[in-house]
Assembly symmetry: C2
Homo-oligomer: 190 residues x 2
């Protein structure tokens, strides 16, 4: 998606050789008009797939998942929780995922009532890096007896190997902008 690559080049802030901050439009401030176009692109990539539900993970995936739903007949969005709370049920699917940016392991949880056997689930997230969040979400979908129709990421850090791991597991992966490497402080897109 060329408009997305251009936006990343214009507004992204590169930190070292592996972190790209896009919090001016994607995951702290959200440019809703722009993200609607991003969401429409997910719809284009996954057209022809039956999608009953969109699954994402808090917090940064929620906005883009909610907007993506608009292009899939307003299907429900479920976000996996990273933090326990007094208002979360005990009857959950849970798995462990490692966050690269936060450098810690989280247990992610989804209430069993919100993914059902036989459902077709599209996984959407802001970033795909080493793939552990998407892998964890995929495991939860399988635990529920549901089917992952695909995994959509707004930005992929292609040099962190997540895409390949997910494809090996049999998932269809669509990343709207793939950063092949960060070299001498510049982004190289695939």
């Amino acid at each position: 998606m060329d408009a997305l690559k251009e936006r990343i080049m214009t507004d992204g802030v590169i930190i070292g050789d592996s972190v790209i901050k896009v919090d001016s439009f994607l995951n702290h401030q959200m440019d809703i008009a722009f993200l609607k176009k991003v969401a429409a692109e997910f719809a284009e990539r996954f057209k022809g797939e039956k999608v009953d539900k969109i699954l994402t993970i808090e917090a940064s995936g929620i906005g883009i998942a909610a907007l993506t739903s608009l292009y899939f007949n307003d299907v429900p969005v479920v976000f996996a929780k990273k933090h326990s709370a007094s208002n979360l049920s005990d009857d959950v699917y849970e798995t462990r995922v490692y966050s690269f940016t936060k450098q810690k392991e989280n247990i992610i949880r989804v209430d069993k009532r919100y993914i059902s056997a036989g459902e077709n689930v599209l996984i959407i997230d802001d970033f795909l890096a080493c793939g552990s969040a998407a892998m964890g979400l995929g495991e939860i979908v399988k635990m529920a007896g549901a089917k992952v129709v695909g995994i959509g990421a707004v930005i992929e850090k292609g040099f962190q190997g997540g895409h390949e791991k997910l494809v090996e597991k049999g998932y269809r992966v669509e990343s709207l902008a793939i950063i092949k490497e960060i070299k001498d402080g510049k982004l190289v897109f695939a």
Copy 2:
């Protein structure tokens, strides 16, 4: 908003005399079709106000804030962060808020670049209880030299006093469903 009250009565799960779980449609699974109507109601309540930006707090506010933006010409949405991360700037407005449901104090932060002096900011959240999240967001808006045009909550727990505290501070507060009390396991709406 009658449809919202009905939905809370149908799907809400009451725990004790102060907790109401609405995670089947609002803050774990999101019923996007329904939440678009909720968002449209915020637009109705705040029509005539100039809104340059919507401010919310991760994680549960993000979805409803993103959908509310659709009814305010797709204005940008900013979500305050509760957790530090390697990809968050050091140059932030921050304040302390106490979470009733999680029973702990959080520092919430907003990057200084994403709220600017003179902006008109609408604060949106899923719940209003003791008001400390909204109060913290309001403080951040003031630190930035911007103006709070109003505070919108999907559900207010009227018995926890947040509404009054916010009104005393001079804020306009619009809650779409106000639970006056939880009595003998039943909800009483205002």
